[in-house]
Amino acid sequence: MSSWRPLVAGTVGVFLIVLAFLAGQLKSGGDPGLRSNAAAATSQPAPQDGFGAGPSAPYGTDPSAAPNGSSDGLAPPATHQS
């Protein structure tokens, strides 16, 4: 008579656990899809301080550069109409 109740309770429990896990992933700021999905993009608003043009000299080298293109204040690569 009531054998379906444990099944429903179990299903709801699993659902809540998975939901909590996914919510935790999103809240942590990570997007696991980016780790393996080439050309997937995330978005972030433009910084308020702006960025200058590229280096005036043909070459510029920063041996201590951080891997991220913008975290060290260098202008990131840009796309624009042509």
Binding site: A40, A41, P47, G50, P58, P77, H80
Partner: protein
């Protein structure tokens, strides 16, 4: 980590190369950057319609229906055919005659540029562009002998396709372990490691309006404001034509930015989005994200779909 930046004039604009490596020293990275420069120069020399001796001009001036050509030019024709199919005929690399009739015959001079706001104020009713009547006829193809075969009178104008191709080909020649961002006239190829932030510039002011974060692939922007001019009768024209009419396309967008698996694909996607107008563009860009710049000045960010992937059991165990 060593980084090298190199910029140089290219394809009517500026090319930018940024290379980073933890294993290579500065001299080695500079050699790679010079190789990229040389490769882009070679592509431009072959594919520019503004260089009298280019292979493109030789092809367009050749009266034979099928012309033996270099692998690069064949690749360009293949890219043009793919772009036409991918875009439903909106990206049409055979509109050179129409473009010249609009007044874009010579290399672009910056002082020709008209004011985008003045042009928008008097532009025709906005509507999505459509394919040309010849779409699907394969007016440009590679025949069984490897020659470029064309319908009579058809001329090739790769335009932005050449920029995307140049960025992709230069990136493909880099060795593993080099993190790169290569921009040819605004078409950017990135990859080699940690995600890149790519700035999206305003079609009106060139200010940064947004940033996209891309691990590997391409980002490109297509817009109408960079090459816009006033005709002798006072009306305005630009270089992004509606294939259905042969006239400049006024769709409600001044620029569209797309993310894709390569710079060439991003170029095709961006131009297709621009020509499709706001509704079609949103649908096209929602798979990987992008940015729309509207006639009225609004900047609309199209976010990529939220993707959450559970770690594989083996990885989770490790």
């Amino acid at each position: 980590m060593t980084r090298v930046d190199l910029s140089f004039p290219s394809m009517g604009g500026e090319a930018m190369v940024r290379l980073e490596s933890a294993a290579l020293d500065r001299a080695a990275l500079e050699r790679l950057a010079d190789d990229v420069h040389a490769r882009v120069e070679t592509i431009e020399a072959a594919l520019s319609r503004f260089r009298p001796g280019s292979e493109l001009n030789a092809l367009n001036g050749d009266p034979r229906p099928a012309v033996p050509s270099s692998p690069l030019l064949r690749r360009t024709v293949a890219a043009a055919a793919w772009a036409a199919e991918r875009s439903g005929g909106l990206v049409d690399a055979t509109l050179l005659g129409e473009l010249e009739r609009q007044g874009y015959e010579d290399s672009w001079e910056a002082d020709r540029r008209a004011d985008i706001e003045e042009a928008l104020a008097v532009a025709p009713r906005r509507r999505p562009a459509g394919p040309a009547r010849w779409h699907g006829e394969h007016r440009l193809a590679i025949d069984e002998a490897g020659r470029i075969a064309r319908a009579p009178g058809v001329r090739l104008d790769p335009g932005g396709l050449a920029k995307g191709m140049a960025a992709d080909l230069a990136a493909a020649a880099l060795p593993a372990g080099v993190r790169y961002a290569i921009s040819c006239g605004g078409d950017v190829a990135v990859g080699g490691g940690e995600p890149w932030e790519v700035a999206v510039r305003s079609a009106r002011s060139d200010a940064e309006v947004h940033r996209l974060r891309v691990r590997a692939g391409g980002v490109a922007t297509s817009g109408i404001a960079a090459r816009i001019w006033q005709r002798p009768d006072g009306s305005f024209a630009h270089h992004v034509l509606d294939p259905a009419t042969g006239q400049p396309a006024w769709t409600g967008l001044v620029a569209a930015t797309a993310v894709a698996a390569s710079a060439l694909e991003a170029e095709v996607l961006a131009k297709t989005a621009l020509l499709s107008g706001p509704l079609g563009a949103r649908r096209l860009l929602r798979r990987r994200g992008g940015v729309l710049q509207h006639d009225d000045g609004r900047i609309e960010v199209i976010p990529p779909p939220a993707v959450v992937r559970l770690p594989l059991p083996a990885r989770a165990a490790a």
